[in-house]
């Protein structure tokens, strides 16, 4: 049978059509994971019983595969009468899974702020809300920007998991072609190369932003 290069090239436009879905899933999952991860970290920081529960939840998420989470949400939610589209379930799954990692990122970002900053804020009589908004958050954002960017790339690379839930992103589209033509090697290779290229481009962009932030930090 051999590898048919012409056929491979002919699949590129069809697979690329799904680029938008891949990027949308990436961005929404990253936003969801950031929001959830930050919330989890805030609850963990608060301590007490909720803090302990969240600490365990984060450990649990980090000890379990994303694929198992996707199956869990996909099959368990309908059992309780919650019917969502595959894309929504996929984004929820990726958000939940990566929130366990981003909680750690936010933790490190906050821990890296010297204790003296909070003390100075207290000595200036700033209230808790103002201390978070004007003193802690801006410094935390600068600290987490680089690792957050790295997780954006990780999430991009995890979006093809959504093909398993039949979300028509790039890998899903490649499988569609494969099942129509009974040729798997070519469309999958194209998908592989496109994902690699995309990951490298996004990683490069993240690095550029990181360098600019670093330069800004040296002001």
């Amino acid at each position: 049978m051999g590898f048919n290069l012409d056929f491979a090239l002919s699949t590129i436009p069809t697979i690329m059509e799904a680029l938008g879905t891949t990027l949308l899933a990436t961005v929404l999952s990253c936003l969801g994971a950031s929001a959830l991860g930050f919330t989890l970290e805030m609850i963990r920081r608060g301590g007490g019983a909720p803090g302990l529960a969240v600490r365990f939840l984060i450990d649990f998420i980090r000890s379990t595969p994303v694929l198992a989470w996707l199956y869990f949400l996909y099959f368990v939610m309908p059992f309780y009468g919650i019917r969502l589209g595959a894309m929504t379930v996929g984004i929820l799954g990726l958000s939940l899974y990566y929130s366990g990692y981003l909680a750690e990122v936010f933790k490190a970002g906050i821990d890296a702020i010297p204790k003296g900053q909070q003390e100075a804020a207290r000595a200036l009589s700033l209230n808790r809300r103002d201390t978070v908004v004007f003193v802690i958050a801006p410094q935390m954002l600068r600290n987490v920007a680089a690792p957050l960017g790295n997780y954006l790339v990780s999430i991009l690379k995890a979006t093809p998991y959504l093909a398993i839930l039949a979300v028509p992103e790039m890998l899903g589209r490649a499988f569609d072609i494969a099942s129509e033509t009974y040729r798997y090697a070519e469309p999958l290779t194209v998908a592989g190369i496109l994902f690699l290229g995309l990951a490298l481009i996004v990683a490069y962009g993240v690095k550029r932003v990181e360098q600019r932030l670093l330069a800004a930090g040296r002001r």
Binding site: M1, G2, F3, D59, F60, R62, S63, T64, P65, V66, L67, A68, W69, Y71, F72, F75, V76, F79, V153, L156, K157, A158, T159, P160, Y161, A163, I164, L171, A178, Y184, A185, L188, T189, A191, G192, F195, L196, A199, L200, A203
Partner: protein, 211 residues
């Protein structure tokens, strides 16, 4: 089917999960060591090639990579078992990540270590093997543990290429029993039972290294 039987059913896949992990390490460890050291030592064109190979394994989406190798190798006339292909892809992907820890560990050593070795008349290879690598590998121990956990979790993918690991068993059981809550909770729990002790060991190691 009782919750207990679901548990037992899923645990039947533990052997395959362990097997893929172990074989994966056979690929991951040598790759991480050789390519991490190579990226540290080489310059110019050689370094570019080494980096390109690492980036291929590390920056590719592992899901896609597994399918590509699973379907493309036979077309190229290379027939490997699903187990071997899975171990190769998951192992080298993990190895790609771990190679970066090896390189970073070597780079973070103070130059004085190498200079002290040179002053003692040691060869470059002896300095690397006796002075630099031992320190770098110990310092990066917690990172390697994290890489190992990622590998164990990634083995869930082999269920997609017909291997009967824990994830595959869960789906099999789900075909005959409509009890998704019990089945998929048990699957998550099974991975937790395997991975969490490794994570705790990593934390213990990290605490020891810091003290």
């Amino acid at each position: 089917m009782s919750t207990f039987n679901i548990w037992l059913g899923i645990l039947q896949g533990l052997g395959t999960t362990a097997q893929v992990t172990a074989y994966g390490l056979v690929f991951a460890v040598p790759f991480a060591l050789v390519f991490g050291v190579a990226q540290f030592l080489t310059t110019g064109m050689t370094r570019f090639l080494v980096t390109a190979i690492i980036e291929f394994w590390r920056s590719s989406a592992v899901v896609v990579l597994l399918f590509v190798f699973y379907y493309v190798l036979p077309v190229m006339g290379i027939t490997l078992s699903a187990l071997t292909v899975s171990a190769l892809v998951l192992g080298l992907n993990t190895g790609g990540y771990a190679s970066q820890a090896v390189r970073a560990g070597l780079q973070s050593l103070p130059a004085g270590q190498r200079e002290a070795g040179m002053a003692l008349g040691l060869s470059r290879l002896a300095i690397l093997l006796l002075i630099e690598l031992p320190q770098a590998l110990i310092a990066m121990g917690p990172t390697f543990i994290n890489n190992l956990i990622q590998l164990v979790k990634a083995t869930s993918l082999v269920s997609l290429v017909t291997l009967t690991d824990m994830t595959f068993r869960a789906k099999e059981i789900a075909q005959t029993n409509y009890d998704p809550v019990a089945i998929y909770s048990a699957l998550l729990l099974a991975f937790f039972v395997v991975c969490y002790p490794i994570a705790l060991a990593g934390r213990w190691l990290e605490a020891r290294i810091q003290s």
